[in-house]
Amino acid sequence: MTRLTYREAVREAIREALVEDDRVFLMGEDVGRYGGAYACSKGLLAEFGPDRIRDTPLSEAAFVGAGIGAAIGGMRPIVEVMTINFSLLALDQIVNNAAAIRHMSGGQVGVPLVIRMATGAGRQVAAQHSHSLEVWYAHVPGIKVLFPATVTDARFMLAAALADPDPVILFEHALLYPLAGEVEEPAGPFDPWHAAVRRAGDDVTLVASGGSLGKTLAAAELLAAEGIAAEVIDLRSLRPLDSDAILRSVAKTHRAVIVDEGWRTCGLAAEIGATIAERALYELDAPIARVCGAEVPVPYAKHLEEAALPNPERIAVAVRDLLDGGHGP
């Protein structure tokens, strides 16, 4: 097993894709000379040249739209939108072209495109640079959404996304880039579309993804010390959502706490909570609980930003409340 940082895993995945398929190219702001805002593409320009590693102007709508057109034209573009914050400028292209064209054309035109974006808060970059809007993409039919939380997923999800005939949004949490971990070589074909149980437990199900997985596993540790066995589920794919995996776990633990860094109201955790209330109501021994980002444009000051985001202690508190307060009817 090789040990890589999440950043290195992303870079390796891009390198591999460029080597294996000459239809693949990378474009985005500063992916070339600069090496990528998060250094994910460092060295690739030298290795693959400016035709396949393309620095774009600050024109999110145009270069995402050009990625859509190039995919329709037979290429396999990897478009990097520097961060999810700026993807709002390309959202029309993603929703009205990438996601809709296959259907609007009666199945004639597919868009085999991958769009990578850094997401998330936690670096004191304030309101305009700290969004966690993954839920918006998970809402849109016609696209798929992946969110690697581990180095192994960061290493292998890209290839699966590129192999997919439809547009795939691939999120990378900016706080994960420096984290190192073992890359587990997949035994069979790599499946990015199903959730993974990252820690088994019988007392409560904790659902997380991307940047929230680490905090959630840390919370599970805290709880274990108190004799509470939490099962931690990593969604991995946000669209389609692997609801069955969640329901299987809830059928075992009868309690669910959903963790998401995004704003709580109408966030990702709401969908999971509603799905449980719809399909596993009678399994529940306690209300579902959500631990999400506070309803505030993320403030700059460190102590305020920390107060605005989920953390292990806050997750643990939610679980304790559930176990104290929760009695089957």
């Binding site: 050009a66 329709i72 259907h103």
Partner: protein, 341 residues
């Protein structure tokens, strides 16, 4: 390169030109009669949603597309019946699409605003104003990277010029040397907003200078002028693999859509333009040149009438997509989880 530089007389002398000119007339007439009929059918409630007619603008799409190679690509907006028909999509497939039938060119999923036919190089039918421009850049980028000789022609209206993505797309195409012909169909209105009330500088083609992009304007009411201008522009794009901005000045004779009371312009203004009907102008020239006589015109009208009638009959008879197929073509079939889910 400017509007007056182009041949506007029929090419009678050149061999084969007579047939060519007849074909241009026939296509413009087909578009005209097709749309007139579509409007009637709309009144009967058999076509619904938004229906945007290009009556008066036929010279632009027909002239431009006549100058393209079969493998060139076309990206159009939502007023694109002419583009589909000129590109060779059958009137039956387009009419069926507007009926919402499974036999439509987009299987009834798209309707009038989303006509697709990849076999004929038609990549829609885009109803977000200016939404097709980056798509055209991407198609051209793929052709350039694959060293294919195709040119992508992107049609859009004067209103689209105000959208940010117009600016982003022209800069990107010029910067990267993408083989795109940006063809602005300037009909002097964006819905009810006149050009001078949505553009601070109304000489649209001159905006090419902001991107170091060659540009020109052409009289969109003269189908041969459009064909010549597009011919020159496209060959230049093909040779240099650099984009070009062409402005075709034309006019919409009818309402913006079926709901428009046309409060924003005068009958007089419309009549002035109607006097320059592209079909009328071209017919006069053909007649004057003795290239086509009364019987010839009648024959064209008959052919076109028959084609439109057959298209409507086929659309009427066409099958509906089974409602069980609602979720088809959201994702590719067998594309893993969620596919046709």
């Amino acid at each position: 390169m400017n509007a007056t530089a182009f041949r506007v007389l029929p090419a009678a002398p050149e061999p084969g030109a007579a047939e060519h000119d007849r074909a241009l007339l026939r296509t413009m007439l087909l578009v005209r009669r097709f749309e007139e009929r579509a409007a009637e059918v709309y009144q009967q409630g058999k076509i619904r949603g938004f229906l945007h007619l290009g009556v008066g603008q036929e010279g632009v799409a027909v002239g431009a597309i006549a100058a393209l190679d079969p493998e060139d690509r076309v990206v159009a907006a939502y007023r694109e019946h002419a583009h589909a028909l000129a590109r060779g999509v059958s009137a039956a497939a387009v009419m069926a699409e507007m009926y919402g039938k499974a036999t439509g060119c987009s299987r009834g999923r798209g309707g009038s605003m989303h006509l697709f036919d990849v076999a004929h190089g038609l990549y829609g039918g885009n109803a977000i104003v200016a939404g097709g421009l980056p798509l055209a850049c991407g198609l051209a980028l793929a052709d350039r990277m694959r060293k294919r000789p195709h040119v992508t022609v992107c049609f859009f209206g004067d209103g689209a010029v105000a959208e940010g993505v117009f600016h982003e797309s022209l800069n990107l195409a010029a910067l990267w040397g993408l083989p795109v012909l940006f063809l602005c169909e300037n009909n002097f209105y964006a819905m009810g907003t006149a050009l001078e009330r949505h553009q601070a500088m109304t000489d649209i083609h001159r905006k090419g200078d902001a991107y170091g992009m060659p540009h020109a304007a052409v009289d969109g009411m003269e189908v041969l002028a459009v064909e010549a201008a597009v011919g020159l522009a496209v060959s230049r794009v093909r040779e240099t693999s650099r984009p070009f901005l062409l402005e075709a000045r034309t006019y919409r004779f009818r309402a913006h859509s079926m709901y428009d009371p046309e409060l924003y312009r005068s009958r007089e203004e419309v009549d002035v333009w109607r006097a320059r009907d592209p079909i009328g102008l071209f017919s006069q020239r053909l007649r004057a040149a003795g290239a086509l006589d009364a019987a010839g015109f009648a024959a064209v009208e008959e052919e076109v009438a028959a084609e439109v009638a057959a298209a409507v009959a086929a659309a009427e008879a066409g099958p509906w997509e089974p409602v069980e197929h609602l979720l088809h073509d959201v994702l590719a079939p067998h594309a893993g989880p969620g596919a046709a889910a």
